[in-house]
């Protein structure tokens, strides 16, 4: 146990032997990997490899049947629900961009800003100068400063992805889980997103799930390849893509 604690202490995310089944289908099977504090990690893997289920487990949406999940060294995530985990400092971007479509870009960020999460403060909320400044900063960072008053519904697909990343930033999390951030983006947007995530990774831990190998190469970080709910290979992108087992999974037998 004490051995575990020391080996966990430098991790932001620690998964050990987690398994979960839905109706007999083992979505995640004895999955173990760790992400260090301050690290950016890319997770790749074919459809059905368990990437989204892994995120569901980390964010408290799904409870694992077995295994341990620790955040920031010693917080047991299996004991908390989505809202608690979000407040502890894990932000999650969904695969399909999920923003508040009938609100303006600015209001989307306002609702995401770190702060009290109970009803009465929200009811009597007055925007402070610090909050306004934080919103300005994030708008600049996510390249949406000129769309501040636009309804989120009117944004392009790529801009919605950025807005959602901005909403995570507004939460001021320690760890960002980003599910397929460049799905449906143009090449230019993809490059811009890679730059954005690299900026963010300077001050946060980030886990990016992505299919787009070009994008993953651009991130230039350690890669974990999942297959059938467990880790197949881990290392640099060159190492992983040279791995026989990975080639087999991606190219078929």
């Amino acid at each position: 146990m004490s051995h575990n604690r020391t080996s966990r202490s430098h991790t932001i995310l620690y998964l050990d032997g987690i398994s979960v089944s839905f109706d007999g289908f083992r979505a995640v099977n004895n999955l173990s990997f760790t992400v260090d504090k301050g690290e950016m990690r890319a997770i790749i893997g074919p459809n059905g490899a368990g990437k989204t289920t892994m995120m569901d487990i980390v964010t408290g949406k799904t409870r694992p049947d077995e295994g341990e999940v620790f955040f920031d060294g010693d917080i047991d995530l299996t004991r908390h629900d989505e809202a608690e985990i979000a407040m502890m400092g894990i932000g999650r971007k969904f695969q399909k961009p999920t923003v508040f479509e009938s609100h303006t870009v600015e209001d989307n960020l306002l609702l995401s800003l770190k702060g009290p999460r109970s009803i009465l403060p929200a009811l009597f909320h007055r925007r402070s100068a610090a909050e306004a400044k934080r919103i300005d900063d994030i708008l600049g960072m996510i390249r949406l400063a000129d769309r501040r008053d636009a309804l989120a519904a009117s944004l392009s697909h790529g801009q919605k992805q950025w807005l959602e990343i901005g909403m995570l930033l507004a939460q001021d999390p320690k760890l960002l889980l980003v599910d397929e951030p460049v799905a449906g983006m143009t090449d230019a947007e993809t490059e811009e997103t890679a730059r954005l995530l690299k900026d963010i990774a300077e001050s946060h831990s980030v886990v990016v799930v992505e299919h787009d190998m070009h994008f993953v190469r651009e991130l230039g970080v350690k890669v974990t390849c999942l297959h059938e709910g467990s880790v197949l290979s881990e290392g640099t992108l060159d190492f992983v893509s040279a791995d026989e087992r990975v080639i087999e999974v991606y190219l078929g037998r």
Partner: protein, 407 residues
């Protein structure tokens, strides 16, 4: 700039117009009913006062439904239950005011209890001889039922059609319970034969007029409170929960608490509406729990325009005025007309009358704005609305095309 848009929005202007209109009505109707002589065309006969007062109570009920359905996506098909509970609380006060003037002359027991050979007043009737106690109960009973029900339902993440079905079951269960004589609420006859309210004869025209004005003023207050709620950060959160509940959870908000607050406030508003309704119609019986009543409220709200504040009021008044006319002229056709209206609104006016009106207005605005420079449109707009900050005005092209009337 938030406040800039806040004051500029056409939706907010509609809300302030509605409040002004309700306050004006509360002051003018007493003159038309009491001061203007009976022969004059301007005279408002007492039955008309009672009828329109009833519409105002329905409007408050529709507004309360809109807070949860329009803004938070909770389609309650049992809102008439909260209305009826508020009505029963008021009815119990009115029953106890009868005193020894009942048919059986019992100073303590209401007539129906004497008829059932009851010897003692049930404990839950204690306190209802005092208005302040009844007033607390009018708020507390619907509020706590909604709180308890919502706490269980929202925490278990019951949503959508499943939630609608259990709200319907709730009102049906209450209907069956209140039909039972041994519940102590007058069985299927309910509570009636009221005499006094606060010492004034409930049948007298001045009392009816006062009840009408009270309904108009309380509706105006409810409009103001609802408007403050939905324009606050909490109100934005309500809409966020409606549009992307899981997003709010992963941002750290407890969506169940967000819903629970709105649901409880809404039930209290519905209860107050019921309490105002009962002295004006002179009776409350279990029929008010009828599931069909709750569904009608949904239709009023949809017709007027959900997620607008003015919409449900317009819808409730128009549909009920149509009902009054139909049930006089073509009684057997009313339900067909109501059903047809709902189908038409769902198919062709998904945003209701107020939503369509808003779209038409802003479409015209865009057309007017196109030929000239933006600044030319801006200036008169800023003069017309004193609180405006022209520099931060959203250009109409931007504001209107995607206009979901953001009230």
């Amino acid at each position: 700039m938030m406040t800039g848009r806040f004051f500029l929005g056409t939706a907010d202007r509609r809300v302030s117009t509605m409040i002004a209109l309700l306050v004006a009505v509360a002051m003018v109707v007493p003159i038309l009913a009491l001061v203007v002589p009976a022969g004059s065309v301007m005279h408002m006969p007492p039955y008309m006062v009672a009828l329109t007062g009833k519409y105002l109570c329905y409007a408050l009920l529709a507004l309360s439904l809109d807070l949860v359905w329009g803004y938070c996506g909770i389609l309650s098909l049992g809102h008439a239950a909260f209305f009826a509970l508020g009505g029963y609380a008021m009815g119990m006060y009115l029953m106890r005011q009868i005193g020894s003037r009942g048919v059986y002359g019992n100073p303590l027991l209401p007539d129906f209890m004497v008829f059932l050979n009851w010897q003692e007043l049930p404990w839950y009737w204690y306190g209802f001889d005092r208005f302040w106690f009844a007033a607390i109960m009018i708020v507390l009973v619907p509020g706590s039922l909604a709180f308890g029900f919502g706490w269980l339902a929202f925490r278990s993440r019951v949503t959508g059609v499943y939630l609608s079905i259990i709200t319907q079951a709730l009102t049906y269960a209450l209907l069956l319970a209140f039909f039972r004589n041994d519940m102590g609420f007058g069985g299927n006859n309910g509570l009636t034969d009221f005499k006094d309210i606060l010492g004034f004869n409930v049948q007298a025209t001045p009392t009816r007029v006062a009840l009408f004005s009270a309904s108009a003023l309380i509706l105006a207050l409810a409009v103001f409170v609802t408007w403050r709620i939905v324009t606050s950060k909490y109100g934005k959160l309500l809409v966020a929960v409606r549009d992307a509940e899981s997003r709010t959870r992963f941002l750290g908000w407890r969506a169940e608490n967000v819903k629970l607050f709105a649901f409880t406030v809404s039930a209290v508003m519905a209860g107050v509406a019921g309490a105002l309704y009962v002295p004006q119609v002179g009776i409350i019986n279990p029929g008010e729990f009828e599931p069909g009543n709750s569904i009608e409220v949904v239709i009023w709200t949809a017709v007027g325009g959900r997620a607008t504040i003015v919409g449900p009021i317009v819808g409730a008044v128009l549909v009920n005025a149509a009902k009054s006319w139909f049930t006089g002229a073509l009684p057997e056709l009313w339900l067909f007309a109501l059903g047809g209206l709902f189908v038409l609104v769902t198919l062709f006016l998904p945003k209701g009358i107020v939503g369509v009106w808003g779209e038409w207005r802003s479409a015209r605005h865009v057309r007017a704005a196109k030929p000239g420079e933006r600044i030319e449109v801006e200036a008169p707009a800023a003069i017309a609305r004193p609180a405006a900050k022209p520099a931060s005005w959203v250009p109409p092209q931007d504001a209107s095309i995607k206009a979901q009337p953001a009230e």
